[in-house]
């Protein structure tokens, strides 16, 4: 494999006159800003500059004030890489020309001392293999008077000046759409990065939320299923007790004579804890449900006012249970009453409602 001198480092000394020449020649490396020229960040890497050796050296040669400096190193490269870097058949001569031009210019106006950095560049160039055949482009070839003036200014200070045709420095807007082999190295690297991202991508927010939801629901479902399997039978047995403890809906409230002796309009509150008011009307005895028909509170019997009043929303009932005041829409309910052996038995499982005309049914009251 042949050994070639490749550029490993490129920099710019102070003194740039912002002429755009270097950017036209090698836009991958140089960027001319409003007041100076800078090296693009990507070009600070050796791997980036090596393949661009040819154009970097060309740019350095063209620089009218010679502020572009570079270092080279001998590197072993394959034939086709060398060809790619230096172009077909003229790989070696390019560097040779650089070295030659540097030396030649040095020699010609020799009276003046070279600018400070010049010897370094020349030394670097001199290390190149010696095949000095090409001469620099003559300044006279350029017609533009401005450029001519620049070149004159450069050479007058003992610098080297030369201009080659400006090369189209346009890089495709989307480097990934072009042939990767023709891309600058950083674009190739970007493509590699992008490819890597495609294969190992962070989840998007939507994916994360979806995953989280599915995981949460699934987790809870699994938990519920496991709990159901373990606890379910026990829970079923709890909800279906073998012995039902329910108070007997039939309440024996006392002898019938006791209620007949009450004055009409009186209320017996003895069985209120069992949910019953015994009342005495003119011609009958009946059992009232103590639950307010409005919203289920327990009204109070006010003996002096002869009415039931609910403490929750102010519903009022006459002693008969008929509503007359407040929001309650219907009268208190009555329980079934029967007499067994002279004892009044109230059956709370059967209710009679006035608004349905049930208070005249046989067991809704005891006729006196």
């Amino acid at each position: 494999m042949p050994t070639k001198e490749l550029v490993t480092k490129v920099w710019i000394d102070p003194g740039c006159i912002v002429c755009d020449a270097c950017e036209n020649t090698c836009p991958e490396v140089f960027e001319v800003t409003d007041d100076t020229c800078i090296i693009r960040p990507a070009a600070l890497a050796t791997a980036f500059t090596k393949p661009l050796t040819k154009t970097i050296i060309e740019a350095a040669q063209e620089c009218p004030v010679d502020v572009i400096k570079y270092e080279t190193a001998a590197v072993e490269v394959s034939e086709e890489e060398a060809a790619k870097i230096f172009g077909e058949g003229e790989s070696a001569p390019a560097i040779a020309a650089a070295g030659a031009s540097a030396s030649a210019e040095h020699a010609a106006p020799a009276a003046k001392p070279a600018p400070a950095a010049k010897p370094a560049a020349a030394a670097v160039a001199a290390e190149a293999p010696a095949a000095r055949s090409h001469a620099p482009v003559a300044p006279a070839d350029i017609g533009d008077p401005n450029v001519q003036a620049l070149l004159r200014a450069a050479t007058a200070r003992g610098g080297q000046a030369g201009i080659s045709k400006a090369r189209g420095g346009v890089i495709s807007a989307d480097p990934l759409r072009t042939d990767p082999d023709n891309l600058p190295p950083d674009a190739r690297f970007a493509k590699t990065l992008l490819a890597a991202q495609k294969t190992k991508k962070d989840p998007t927010r939507r994916e994360a939320i979806t995953f989280g939801t599915v995981a949460m629901v699934g987790g809870w479902a699994a938990f519920a299923a496991a709990t159901g399997i373990v606890v379910g039978p026990a829970g079923l047995s709890f909800s279906m007790p073998r012995a039902l403890e329910e108070p007997d809906p039939r309440v024996r409230v006392g002898p019938l004579s006791q209620f007949i002796e009450m004055k009409p309009g009186d209320v017996n509150e003895d069985y209120k804890p069992k949910g019953i008011w015994m009342i005495r009307e003119e011609d009958r005895v009946a059992a009232l449900n103590i639950i307010c028909t409005h919203l289920g509170c327990i009204p109070n019997w006010l003996p002096n006012d002869r009415k039931f009043l609910c403490p929750c929303h102010g519903s009022g009932y006459y002693f008969t249970g008929v509503n007359f005041q407040g929001p309650t829409p219907r009268p208190l309910e009555r329980f079934r009453v029967t007499v067994e052996d002279g004892i009044v038995v109230v059956d709370k499982s059967k209710k009679f409602q006035h608004e349905l005309g049930q208070w005249e049914m046989p067991e809704s009251h005891l006729a006196v």
Binding site: K272, P273, L309, P311, H313, N323, G326
Partner: protein, 367 residues
């Protein structure tokens, strides 16, 4: 009780206040007070005026506490938060309307608003988190002190056959409990609270007027703000005050300086809308079938919810209808009509003891 004895001047004042605090005058005065406040909001929100009124209210409250009956009510641990709530409602109402008054004056003069250029963005950390942390500590300390000095009342063991008299909901639900006095449980307990929640949720979709977004103003949004203040202050806060201070044993109204006598007589004999129409107006008996019997009430409710929207869209709300379109208008006006049915029904109950417009007890359909 004591104004039956020789009346002093203070007793006469207390008696007058007791009369004013009957439900109908109290409610009307609340509405009038709200109206006066909203009309003259630029005057009432001036710091000096507001301070005089706020201080006066607190002073009045403090002097009222000298009355044993009033003190008995406000000193109940259950009722302490309501005194705080009234102070806070007053303060925040003043704060909002003060800024609205300033902004409205500036708008008229073409000056920049209070909020103009205000960079109210802060960092979550540390600004917000610190504020929240400090608020959390202060609230915890406050609650601990409160819990130590005002103990939760522990009453006798529960007895399914005895209800406390009066039996009161938690203070924040007393407005809803007050509604239950006037409406059937399915309306007052389910429909109206549901409509309150749904209505509040629907507000931003009904009201697409961008004015007032991000700045305080009253002049530009007087209708919606007045409607909201009516629903919030009168139909919610005032009803809580009713339920707390004015509802005594057997859920009867008592004046603030009145002794809670469980045997106070209240002659409140209900009548139904159907009785007014069939018996009093037409001078005949009630029809047998429920549909004919309740036809007047059903016709009234039907007109209220279907006829009135057309009438309003044609007359006073014509502009609103054009602005917000058919669907928004229908939803908005139904919510409004439900809201105004509440005070209407209350007024009928207080004045003529009307129990229900529609009373189909056969299947629990009462409005």
């Amino acid at each position: 009780m004591h104004y039956l004895l020789a009346e002093s001047g203070v007793d006469r004042i207390k008696h007058a206040i007791n009369v004013i605090c009957e439900p109908a005058p109290f409610f009307v005065l609340s509405c009038v007070a709200l109206g006066v406040f909203l009309i003259g909001y630029r005057f009432w929100t001036k710091p000096v005026v507001a301070a005089i009124f706020g201080g006066g209210a607190v002073l009045f409250y403090a002097l009222s506490a000298l009355d044993p009956n009033f003190f008995l009510i406000i000193a109940k641990p259950d009722n302490v938060p309501i005194s705080m709530m009234m102070l806070l409602v007053g303060f925040f109402t003043w704060l909002a309307f003060r800024q609205a008054a300033i902004n409205d004056a500036r708008l008229e003069k073409g000056e920049p608003l209070l909020e103009a250029g205000a960079d109210d963005k802060v960092l979550v950390w540390p600004d917000l988190v610190y504020t929240e942390f400090i608020a959390l500590i202060l609230c915890t300390a406050f609650l601990i002190v409160w819990a130590i000095y005002l103990r939760a009342p522990l009453e006798q063991p529960a007895d399914p056959s005895v209800a406390p008299n009066p039996a009161k909901a938690p203070w924040y639900f007393l407005g809803l409990q007050e509604l239950l006095v006037y409406f059937d449980p399915w309306i007052a307990g389910v429909l109206l609270p549901g409509l309150i929640i749904l209505g509040l949720v629907a507000l931003p979709y009904i009201d697409k007027n961008p004015r007032g977004n991000g700045y305080y103003t009253f002049k530009e949004r007087w209708f919606v703000i007045t409607t909201y203040m009516f629903g919030w202050v009168v139909l919610w806060v005032v009803l809580i005050v009713f339920g707390t201070f004015l509802r005594g044993p057997n859920w009867i109204f008592f004046g603030p300086y009145e002794f809670w006598d469980a045997h106070k007589l209240a002659a409140l004999l209900n009548i139904q809308f159907r009785d007014i129409v069939w018996i009093q107006a037409l001078g005949r008996g009630l029809p047998g079938h429920w549909l004919v019997r309740e036809a007047p009430g059903l016709a009234f409710i039907g007109f209220w919810f279907t006829g009135l929207p057309f009438l309003l869209a044609w007359t006073v709300m014509r502009k609103v209808y054009r602005q917000i379109g058919f669907i928004r208008y229908v939803i908005a006006v139904q919510l409004l009509l439900w809201m105004f049915l509440v005070p209407l029904k209350m007024a009928f109950r207080w004045t003529i003891n009307l129990q229900y417009f529609v009373a189909i007890t056969e299947f629990f359909f009462n409005i």
